[in-house]
């Protein structure tokens, strides 16, 4: 069989398997990376912190989602506190059931690597690609003796590289905090315009918030169709994709894009697109 035929046949088989994989994976069994877990937790945190204090009228809008907000808040891990994510937000009703204004008690962790030179950023990017986490998250075993041949471990040397750039321990901690909070790539004072979905306890998007200041302390939040009209999310009711690209307050000028295929009640995984 010629290579061209093998190439095409393999491509067809792979694509068929990928299509089946897209249809088959239920949300609850999908593997989550450490970053994704934190991203999900972070979105829930915003839901909890931002909405738990919203007054009673809002509960009428989507009782199923919001009655569980406090329990979500209670489930937040201590690590979030250790990372400085503990928040004491206050939300005021602008329009009951539609719009809320929330203020967080402290700034979100900013990513200090945004201050690197383009050359340094490129070097850091190389060091993190491909990250060892992606292999570990998938359960692949990497034994220490094999290190010398493992590009993955080289990628894990981000800290060493940053230290060589003169990063202090404080900056390294800030870098870690931004990574786990899903705010990596957002520098100090750059949060204005960042969006984050409001996610109910059933993992469905009920609305969204947009940061209105550079530190990420002030958020303009909308529920339901209003969030779509404000171009914060593209749809409500969709199942959130357990984290992933575009999830969390990444700086994105456009709305948080939800996949229409997840608007149904099925548990099909649909990533933000």
């Amino acid at each position: 069989m010629s290579n061209e035929i093998k190439r095409r046949e393999l491509g067809d088989r792979l694509q068929a398997a990928f299509a089946a994989d897209l249809q088959a994976q239920p949300v609850m069994t999908r593997l989550r990376t450490r970053h994704e877990r934190f991203a999900t937790r972070r979105a829930r945190w915003l839901l909890a912190t931002g909405l738990a204090l919203i007054t009673a009228p809002s509960l009428a809008y989507a009782a199923g989602a919001f009655t569980s907000a406090q329990s979500v808040a209670a489930s937040l891990p201590a690590s979030d506190v250790m990372l400085g994510l503990e928040q004491k937000p206050t939300c005021t009703v602008v329009q009951a059931g539609v719009r809320y204004s929330c203020i967080l008690s402290r700034a979100l962790p900013a990513d200090p690597t945004t201050q690197l030179t383009p050359e340094q950023s490129h070097e850091l990017a190389e060091a993190r690609t491909p990250g060892i986490e992606k292999y570990l998250a998938e359960g692949a075993a990497i034994s220490r003796p094999d290190w010398m041949r493992e590009q993955a471990l080289i990628a894990a040397s981000g800290h060493e590289l940053l230290k060589s750039f003169g990063f202090t321990d404080t900056q390294l901690q800030a870098y870690d905090a931004a990574l786990v909070a899903g705010t990596d790539g957002i520098g100090t004072g750059q949060f204005t315009g960042a969006v984050v979905p409001i996610v109910g306890a059933d993992d469905r998007i009920d609305g969204g918030c947009r940061a209105t200041d550079g530190n990420g302390t002030q958020w303009d939040c909308y529920l339901g169709q209003a969030a779509v009209n404000q171009q914060i999310v593209t749809a409500v009711g969709a199942t959130v994709p357990s984290g992933g690209v575009g999830y969390g307050p990444t700086v994105q000028k456009g709305p948080y894009v939800t996949n229409p295929c997840s608007s149904s009640t099925t548990a099909t995984v649909c990533m933000a697109g």
Partner: protein, 184 residues
């Protein structure tokens, strides 16, 4: 949707819910990944198996891709290809975990090939490119899990020098890896 003009990063982004986007990425890189594996295993059938495993792993971990090289997925894909090769040599059988997970593997297709250390000659060459000082420093750091202070004491240098030595070795290996991968 016509993905043909999209960057690798955009293809991977779209492939979160579009297998067609990933197919374009496959078509874009399959020949290079095939040559990469064939050069090392010198067996066409085995090389195709390794290619299949490489793209299957890439699919599974595609959401972890970060666009950090101006839209190119080449370093990321070569990293996965390299990992597949290493796993195969370590286990002395062609790695097939991702294909099994995706239901792609047919036992009748299994090859009676046993990967051996010679498949990793390229990797050894890369290490040989390090200076003796750098090589010793990274051995102590990673294989012996030694702190920089420990390395410094062992090699009679300062911790800062140890750190820089390890970092430069990492950088050298990375550059060599990308160069070898890119030319393959």
């Amino acid at each position: 949707m016509d993905h043909s003009k999209h960057s690798d990063a955009r293809l991977l982004f779209a492939s979160a819910h579009d297998d067609g986007a990933f197919r374009v990425l496959y078509d874009r890189y399959v020949d290079r990944i095939y040559r990469y594996h064939l050069k090392r295993c010198a067996d066409q059938d085995a090389a195709w198996d390794l290619v299949a495993e490489t793209f299957a792993q890439a699919w599974i971990v595609r959401r972890a891709f970060r666009d950090v090289t101006d839209g190119s997925a080449a370093p990321w894909l070569y990293g996965i290809a390299r990992n597949v090769l290493l796993q195969s040599v370590r286990r002395q059988r062609l790695e097939d975990g991702a294909r099994q997970r995706l239901g792609l593997l047919e036992r009748s297709e299994a090859h009676e090939v046993v990967p051996d250390e010679s498949w990793l000659d390229g990797a050894d060459e890369m290490l040989d490119g390090l200076s003796e000082n750098q090589r010793r420093a990274v051995e102590l750091r990673v294989l012996d899990d030694m702190s920089y202070e420990g390395i410094a004491g062992h090699l009679a240098i300062t911790p800062e020098t140890a750190r820089m030595r390890v970092h430069r070795a990492f950088k050298t290996l990375r550059d060599q890896y990308l160069r070898i991968g890119g030319e393959t």
